[in-house]
Amino acid sequence: MRSAPYLLCVPALVLFAGVVIVPLAMTVLLSFHDWGQYKGIEPVFILKNWQEVLGDSYFHEMFARTFRIAFFVTLLAAVFGAPEAYILNRMRSPWRGIFLLVILGPLLISVVARTLGWALLFGGNSGLVNKALMGLGLISAPLPFMFTETGVVIALAHVLMPYMVLAVWASLQRLDPQVENAAVALGAGPFTVLRRIVLPQVMPGILSGAVIVFALAASAFATPAIIGGRRLKVASTLAYDEFLNTLNWPLGAAVAVLLLLALVAIVWGANRLVERRYAQVFA
């Protein structure tokens, strides 16, 4: 029976279709419906929502903000996460396990709890972060963190850091320590080894970590909702508001679908780039 393998796939396919494809298709369909304050949702096919989302500068700004935040979160996660993974990888036996737990531990705590923690640290003019920065003499007046992009970027970068560390760590594990020794024997100093030997080899790991972090940051909800609040909306919080406050489901659906499409395009493009760049070397 050659069809047996396909038949065995059927239950999983049905489940996948049921929980992913169908709701997704319905959301796409919803984005073409009409909506009015008094008439509610009208199941017609119009482009009104899409014209609004694509034409209105309010939405442009909001999407630009979403991807700006995601970009800086990714940058921050890479700048701190990659060295973190490198140091972790060089640690000795008991410490390595302990610090791995410290770094990955936050994954076990709800994002909401972690973000509320940051809200407490940031909160008001007397927040701990501002107090510490002023105490160190780095700033003279308190910086606004709550309801700013800076605050959202910092909190999100912290929330998503473990994904970057894991991705980079996985690629560090594959490195042959003798390769670093070979560079040293040829006269390379520690910094040269890091820049010319280690970094290029873990670059695919950093890039795949970046893709994950970027996608998660652009679609994150809890952290921008708590730190950014109503004043600083990103795509996901806007879609939420349209669905639950304005009750304009079709417009919310258009925002959500656009975010999904943009993310798929970015992730796919980044993957293509990585694959083409590294095919020869690491295939």
């Binding site: 003798q178 040293v184 006269g187 010319r196 030997i197 070397v281």
Partner: protein
């Protein structure tokens, strides 16, 4: 005073001495092999010379200078690692040129020297390949070129041929010997293959549990092994009435030690016999000259030079 001197070099891991009081002098231009079973401390010795493992005690001197006081990056040694350790993200030319770049050699001269060295190892046409795109033997030669191009004071080779198949290994042995002769670099080769050590080196150091059991030219160690361990490690040997006799030195004769052939194995260019005698089981190796040879169960007499 030798060019490279190891003096009572010792490395302990906890209570275990991986290398135990090794003393060795290597002359300039000499090819020395460190030979011994797995875990006898060969790699540890090499890594101490290279500077990646710190000795517990003892001294290493190169041309009279204390090598241990010099950082690994400044020792100027060429190393071929067992795993080759090529830089996977660099082309062959970039791999080979890396050491020159570190020395601050100008780009133009770098290109010429990289080209010359790649020609030397027969890889002139492969300069723009990546390591992944090459066979094991080719990668091994890239590693050799990378170590040679910096004109190292000493070339350290850690089982460089062990990943190759028998045929390729033989070819590379000949090539390695030729290259070493041409360039004249002092070379230390680590191997657990006694045939390889004997084929390549001027002197061999037979190691056992971190100690040197015998240091000398290959034929001398083979003919006059200092200890039973050396005798056994350098090839098959028979212990007959307290004397050790190499199997290929024993011939079938009309008289001598009487015995019966228990097994006979054909190995292409020679026959391998196991003969039951009054002094125990004796192994005999006879060249395959095309003549008729005794078969299993035949009664034979064994004779060898020096037997009373």
């Amino acid at each position: 005073m030798a060019f490279l001197e190891l003096e009572r070099l010792t490395k302990s891991f906890g209570a275990h001495n991986a290398v135990d009081g090794l003393t060795l002098g290597v002359e300039k231009g000499e090819f020395v092999a460190l030979l011994g079973p797995s875990g006898c401390g060969k790699t540890t010795t090499l890594q101490m010379i290279a500077g990646f493992v710190e000795p517990t005690s003892g001294a290493i001197r190169l041309a009279g200078k204390d090598l241990l006081a010099i950082r690994p990056a400044r020792r100027g040694l060429g190393i071929v690692f067992q795993s080759y350790a090529l830089f996977p993200h660099m082309t062959v030319a970039e791999n080979v040129g890396f050491g020159l770049e570190m020395q601050g050699v100008a780009a133009a001269e770098r290109r010429t020297r990289v080209g010359e060295t790649l020609d030397l190892v027969g890889l002139g046409a492969f300069a723009s390949r990546f390591p992944r795109q090459m066979s094991g033997g080719q990668q091994q030669r890239v590693a050799l070129a990378r170590a040679l191009v910096i004109r190292p004071q000493i070339l350290l080779l850690d089982e460089p041929l062990s990943n190759l198949d028998a045929k390729l290994r033989e070819g590379m042995q000949i090539e390695l010997r030729q290259i070493q002769r041409t360039v004249g670099t002092t070379t230390i080769l680590v191997t657990h293959d006694q045939a390889e050590a004997m084929a390549l080196s001027d002197r061999i150091v037979v190691m056992n549990q971190g100690r040197a059991e015998q240091i000398g030219p290959p034929h001398e160690a083979y003919e006059r092994p200092a200890t039973p361990f050396v005798a056994n490690f350098l090839g098959k040997t028979n212990l007959v009435d307290g004397n050790s006799v190499r199997p290929e030195r024993i011939s079938f004769a009309a008289f001598g030690l009487a015995g019966t052939v228990r097994t006979r194995i054909f190995q292409g260019n020679h026959w391998l016999y196991q003969v039951d005698t009054a002094s125990g089981l004796v192994t005999v190796i006879r060249q395959n000259s095309g003549e008729a040879m005794p078969g299993e169960g035949d009664a034979v007499h064994l004779a060898w030079e020096g037997r009373a």
